[in-house]
């Protein structure tokens, strides 16, 4: 008790003694606590792991689909001085591409330093089996569905302990930057293809923004929305993806309205699968071709709803606008809702027609994992503002979209983008890429920097119409364009190449004399006039049997008699045997595998175009011969590996198989705007490789870049990589 009294006195004495050292210390302690809380909030955002690259720099500029012949032509014309300068310093080579030469496959070859047998990506589209059915999925990522949520009062209530749906990166193999990560060498990867969701950096030295393969907010590879006063309720969907919906007039409010579709509502049982929507209002001016577009974003967490209002002239594009889809006030996603960004194009003012881009993730508040680490997205948003996060940012679906409507008794076809619209939209993507590259270079100190441009590919698919070797330099025989248009628009692709020259100049300036620089593309390009439907070919050659000979329209699952089917095509270039023990309803005995493969290969090689008797197929690749690794036939994970890859001659391209329509002829004229491609024989469409250093091999390949980059940082080639070090002294 006496002790307690003493302590009481001691406190009172101290309190009376204000202004003393002890009292000042008390105040300082309080201030320090506030300061520490402040610093504790600030510091986590400032952390950057110390580089062990010791100033070594390797910069890779990836230009998807840049064609060596066109590049050479432009260099010879003096239009790409920086490329010429780089080629003079080191060299310019054709770069061997993947089998098949499709971007996800090719970039995966680059990433793991091996062929598809090392990473398991064989095509844009892969197949999986569910209840005996063959279903497609995008080859580099897939969503797995979690446990069904509990049901309460008419709502789904997902609980924290339940397994939720997950997005998985399906590319196998170890990416080369993981080896750098282990050694403490920083890698910055911007728009890296075939890496969505981005692979984890175990040691924190990798910063990656995912590129090709990244979905939109809906989880698709790009769903634009098209609204028109001329559509009615049963307008249907455009032919080539995207959505269409009517604009309706509200007499009282004197404005048009429509609903922007978002993600499915995960909570409401009655509306399971139904999308959350945002009402959009369009108010045209009384006289001018201008309209106000407005909508309201519900506020996630606390805060007020955010009205979004802006003006657009006819034909004008908005900048990026936020859209927020909030499942309910009791948002299970932690109150963040699902936030995305879109751009609007007012195609007509009155009566209005509106195009809305696919809903991209908002990098400032990403609702999905688009970067590694997660906060890298915000760092980029802070540096450059909002940008296309979707993989296929160039909206080629909108270029091909058309809808048939009834106008006063007359059937009319409405088109969405014309060539100029597509050119404008692809330029937006290019401009954002330039801005991002400038930012990337300003942040780059040492280690690896990879930067990717997609427009060289997706502008190429629609506008490439270059003369083939041996042809006169004329623009003739385009499937849908006259000579003048063909020339005009292939020139716009050339302009895209020329823009890359200016970007390379920025890279070289940053690189200085010490850095190793690579400029590379995953494949080249070739125009085409004829399309091949592999499944119809297999049908007509007796490898596919139908349940009903009269029924040819629909999916393979519905049409095919699997018990008599030997092989089918799925994706673009792949043929799968209907092998017993692997396929759900296999019919080919494994001991007959070789014979059937030989038979298909021989027949394919002997196939002639009925139009002019030209050979259609240049090479048929057996995957057990050209693939090496765990995903190759006979490897640990060969369940989904195709058996044959079909490499077509120039001027031909394969139509998408799998969900293909067997009512189509096996070969027919191309009548679409998509008039150039690269999914043919790999040897016909090599990519490009330029470097400021001379390489020592005569036939560089995509698979060689990963071991070369590792060697630049003093890391030995890993056992699983089959590529070579391009700078290694010749043996």
């Amino acid at each position: 008790m006496q002790n307690a009294e003493c302590r009481m006195k001691a406190i009172c004495r101290t309190e009376r003694d204000c202004g003393s050292t002890a009292c000042i210390a008390d105040g300082l302690r309080s201030a320090l606590l506030v300061a520490l809380a402040f610093v504790g909030l600030v510091l986590p955002g400032c952390g950057e792991k110390a580089s062990k690259a010791e100033g070594k720099k390797v910069i890779v500029l990836g230009l998807d689909g840049m064609d060596p012949r066109l590049l050479r032509r432009l260099m010879d014309e003096g239009r790409m001085p920086t490329f010429s300068k780089l080629a003079a310093k080191g060299g310019f080579w054709e770069l061997g591409t993947s089998v098949p030469p499709q971007s996800p496959v090719a970039w995966s070859n680059f990433i793991v330093g091996g062929d598809p047998g090392a990473h398991g990506v064989f095509d844009f589209i892969h197949r999986e089996f569910e209840d005996g059915q063959i279903l497609p999925y995008y080859s580099t990522n897939e969503t797995t569905y979690g446990e069904k949520p509990y049901e309460m009062f008419g709502f789904y209530m997902p609980m924290p302990w339940q397994e939720s749906s997950k997005l998985l990166l399906k590319r196998g193999g170890k990416p080369f930057w993981d080896y750098l990560d282990e050694k403490g060498i920083p890698s910055r990867l911007y728009r890296i293809p075939a890496n969505y969701p981005p692979s984890e950096s175990k040691h924190g030295y990798v910063k990656a923004l995912s590129g090709m393969g990244t979905t939109d907010l809906m989880g698709t590879q790009g769903t634009f929305q098209w609204f028109s006063a001329e559509f009615d309720d049963d307008v249907g969907s455009p032919d080539d993806g995207g959505r269409a919906a009517p604009l309706k007039y509200d007499m009282e409010m004197q404005r048009w309205h429509c609903k922007l579709a978002g993600i499915p509502n995960p909570m409401v049982i009655a509306a399971q699968g139904a999308e959350m929507t945002i009402p959009i209002y369009i108010e045209p001016d009384r006289e001018e071709s201008i309209a106000r577009i407005s909508y309201v974003n519900q506020a996630p967490k606390w805060g007020m709803d955010q009205p979004v209002e802006f003006l657009l002239r006819e034909g004008e594009w908005s900048d990026w606008k936020p859209v927020v889809f909030l499942p309910s006030p009791f948002d299970p996603g932690g109150g963040a809702g699902s936030r995305g960004i879109v751009r609007f194009q007012l195609r007509k003012a009155d009566p209005p027609e509106l195009y809305v881009t696919p809903i991209n993730f908002d990098p400032a508040y990403p609702s999905g994992k688009i970067t590694e680490p997660d906060d890298f997205a915000q760092e980029l948003a802070k540096g450059v503002g909002p940008f296309y996060t979707k993989g296929f940012a160039e909206d080629f679906h909108a270029r091909e979209a058309k809808i048939k409507i009834d106008l006063g008794g007359y059937a009319t076809e409405l088109r969405l983008f014309d060539d100029e619209d597509y050119k404008t939209q692809t330029q937006f993507v290019m401009d954002e890429g330039k801005k991002l590259l400038t930012h990337a270079l300003s942040e780059y100190k040492d280690g690896l920097l990879f930067f990717y441009f997609s427009s060289t590919d997706l502008v190429g698919h629609v506008f490439y119409w270059e003369p083939e070797p041996g042809e006169p330099e004329e623009f003739t025989d385009h499937p849908v364009r006259d000579d003048e248009d063909a020339e005009t628009y292939t020139k716009s692709l050339r302009e895209t190449y020329v823009q890359c020259d200016a970007e390379l100049a920025k890279v070289l300036e940053k690189a200085g004399d010490d850095a190793t620089v690579f400029v590379m593309s995953d494949h080249g390009f070739m125009r085409y006039k004829r399309k091949l439907n592999l499944n119809t070919w297999l049908l007509e050659n007796g490898f596919i049997s139908l349940k009903d000979e009269e029924k040819r329209r629909g999916s393979l699952n519905d049409l095919v008699d699997w018990s008599k089917t030997k092989a089918y095509s799925f994706g673009l270039n792949a043929i799968y045997l209907n092998l017993k023990g692997r396929e759900p309803q296999g019919a080919v005995d494994p001991k007959d595998r070789d014979a059937v493969l030989r038979e298909i290969s021989d027949k394919l090689r002997a196939t002639r175009d009925p139009l002019d008797e030209r050979p259609v197929v240049k090479t048929v690749y057996r995957t057990d011969e050209v693939y090496h690794g765990d995903y190759a036939p006979g490897g640990k994970f060969d369940q989904h590996t195709p058996d044959l890859i079909v490499g077509l001659h120039r001027e031909y391209v394969v139509r998408l198989g799998g969900t293909g329509d067997l009512s189509l002829k096996w070969i027919y004229n191309n009548t679409g705007e998509w008039s150039a491609d690269h999914c043919i024989a790999a040897e016909l469409v090599p990519g490009i490789l330029l470097s400021n250093r001379k390489i020592t091999v005569t036939d560089p390949n995509l698979t060689d870049l990963a071991p070369t980059i590792l060697a630049e940082f003093g890391i030995e080639k890993p056992e699983k990589m089959t590529g070579r070090n391009l700078f290694a002294p010749p043996k």
Binding site: R7, E15, A31, F38, I290, R292, E309
Partner: protein, 287 residues
């Protein structure tokens, strides 16, 4: 009231003048620190310090009693009651200084909001000037009996105009081509109304910025109080409000990595509290 606003504007312009060259986060940091210390002193001289000190001592004593006699239920309960009562006393004793502080704080926060909540329009950016018309004037305009027009000073180009179906809303898009403080003049019939349009980099305009002038508010949140640096249209004017879009929030996002600190008022509170606590022992203040 307008004379008071003029005085307040003049005082704050004078205060901010020496900090014109500083980035916004730095000038706001200095102002917040000074205000924190001044408010601490104001608290000291407007509060009953001896009673606050006594109540705090009582709390500490009772906390100690609870610790020492934790086995004695009667003492513990009595001490808990005492802590609550003393805390309530401190709360009551804080009310007079808070009420006194509110008088300078409202115009002070309005002035700070004008300088830190919004940034000038970036040079080359396109903005919308959104004008709401009164019902009576809108009807005249719709019937061609009156006109509404926008004029902009040199350096700002008026691009295009949009009118709602009922003419109550008229919007113009303008492009800011040159930095500086520009004037937008809305002509509605024979009356004119002006709105300032700041153009330039964040922090380059030393004067206060408001995105909107409106005569919609009433009572305490009247424009006279909250938007002291630009006169709002009178209640019976043909123009009800003039708003400029695209004046972004500024200050912290450019310098601090945490989004929450992007809000100037959070930044202001943290810095001012930090300095108030730091100077508390020096000025012998009991809070």
């Amino acid at each position: 009231m307008s004379a008071l606003n003029r005085l307040s504007n003049w005082l704050f312009d004078l205060t901010f003048a020496p900090m014109a060259g500083l980035p916004p986060w730095a000038s706001l940091g200095v102002i917040s620190a000074v205000i924190g210390v001044v408010m601490l002193l104001a608290y000291k001289y407007t509060s009953w310090q001896s009673q606050i000190g006594k109540a705090r001592d009582e709390i500490k004593a009772r906390m100690l009693a609870m610790k020492l006699f934790k086995d004695n239920l009667g003492v513990t309960l009595s001490a808990q009651g005492g802590v609550i009562w003393s805390s309530f006393k401190i709360l009551l004793l804080s009310i007079p200084p808070i009420l006194v502080a509110m008088i300078p704080m409202v115009p002070l926060l309005a002035q700070l909001a004008g300088r830190y909540q919004f940034a000038p329009l970036p040079t080359g950016a396109v903005s919308e000037v959104r004008v709401a018309l009164s019902d009576a004037f809108a009807e005249k305009e719709q019937h061609g009996e009156a006109e509404v027009a926008l004029e902009a000073s040199d350096g700002v180009e008026v691009l295009d105009r949009w009118r709602s179906g009922d003419s109550r809303q008229v919007w113009w898009r303008v492009r800011a081509d040159r930095p500086g403080m520009h004037t937008l003049t809305v002509r509605a019939g024979d009356q004119t109304f002006t709105k300032q349009l700041p153009v330039g980099e964040p922090g380059s305009i030393p004067a206060a910025i408001s995105p909107k002038l409106t005569n919609h508010y009433t009572g305490m949140l009247d424009n006279t109080l909250m938007l002291p640096w630009e006169p709002a249209p009178p209640a019976d004017a043909p123009v009800r409000s003039i708003e400029v879009s695209g004046l972004m929030t500024s200050v912290a996002p450019d310098v601090l990595p945490i989004p929450i600190l992007g809000n100037w008022i959070v930044y202001f509170l943290i810095v001012s509290i930090l300095f108030a606590l730091l100077f508390k022992p020096l000025f012998n203040v009991r809070i």
